[in-house]
């Protein structure tokens, strides 16, 4: 099954079995097996990081951090979920942690003019600018973007997003609405 097939149709049971076997070998320290898992899932990890971070450099750093964390925490994968599912959630958590720990930027702190207010109203584009959905998502404020990507792009449910982000469900719904409204405004231009 090709990568495109796996994206469109989901992984076949054979692929899932193979991933599970590779994961078990990697748990025993087989770096070659881990590398094969990397080559299978790297593009998925990249996509989630790019959409959440909306910044190529940060996405690259987060993706690397996610893989390192996956290696370190392989023992916590018990086989009850598909390896790709486990890895996807781990990647999301790595990115969200990076937002929270403010390693690179301060979130939601107005200070000295040297930090970005990631919840500021988005900068409207000039009338007539063509913009596609990916670019529009990247221009959302971080909080709205996070919820939109997790819910509407990646398919997580509200309770799952609430658990990952620590936000109350009411806040999530408001952020999601805000994201959808802003996107419609951007895409209407």
């Amino acid at each position: 099954m090709s990568l495109i097939d796996s994206i469109v149709h989901g992984p076949s049971s054979t692929m899932a079995d193979e991933a599970a076997e590779l994961a078990r070998r990697a748990q025993a320290g087989d770096v070659a097996a881990f590398e094969r898992l990397y080559h299978t899932h790297a593009s998925h990890v990249r996509a989630i990081c790019m959409r959440l971070c909306a910044d190529a450099q940060r996405a690259e750093e987060s993706a690397q951090d996610a893989w390192v964390r996956a290696w370190e925490r392989l023992s916590t994968w018990r086989g009850d979920a598909a390896f790709g599912t486990w890895l996807h959630r781990l990647t999301v958590n790595v990115v969200l942690e990076s937002f929270r720990s403010e390693r690179r930027r301060i979130a939601r702190v107005m200070l000295s003019g040297d930090d970005e207010d990631v919840d500021a109203p988005f900068a409207a584009s000039e009338p007539g600018d063509a913009i596609d959905l990916e670019h529009a998502i990247a221009r959302l404020p971080r909080g709205a973007r996070t919820v939109f990507v997790l819910h509407d792009v990646e398919g997580y449910r509200h309770p799952e997003i609430a658990a990952m982000t620590g936000l109350a469900e009411g806040t999530l719904r408001a952020q999601l609405c805000r994201a959808r409204r802003l996107l419609m405004e951007m895409l209407d231009r």
């Binding site: 320290g29 770096v31 409204r181």
Partner: protein
Amino acid sequence: MTHHLDDQTLSDLLDDGLDATARAAAEEHFAVCDACFTRMQRMRMLVASAAALPRAMPAPAGEWQRIRSRLHPAGPRGASEPWWTRRSALLAAGLALVIASSGVTALLVRGERNVAVQQPAPAVTAAALTPRLAALEHEYATVTKDLERQLAERKHALAPETVIAVERSLRTIEGAIAEAREALARDPGSETLARLLVAGHDQKVELLRRATRLVTQS
């Protein structure tokens, strides 16, 4: 008609977040309000488009090498087998180490074949490592070279005592790496030496990464 449904209501309706009463009221409203119905459809199309976005994006070239240099060679935490029975990434079955020096027979060790091969003299005195170990060292060299370049560009922003501390530690680590590499050339089957060599590289990368972060975060 001046009354319209707000976006939060539309958004919640889309996610089945309204109770039966509110949902029925919204459906009744759509029957008499083209504007709200149209907006609902647009929101629905937006969500459908988002769900159809590709789940994959190409990873940048060289990413695996950068990740590999950060993985601890002792394996993931909690691996069930004792470390010495795990297959080593560096010295997996089939690897061979060739020692070449003037007039010395080269041996293939630990491989599927045990064959003595005559090497032509004069040979290089420096030891050639296993292909995989050499490849790993090359990956480390790529990563450290990039970090060293970043550090050199920004060194002026570091306090003088920090520069001295970093350079002193780098010399220590590089000395240890050189010793481990030379010893590995003499004892090619030593997994301990391979691990020590990799640990040295890890320490160097970590030190350079930390020093570079000191500048970029200041």
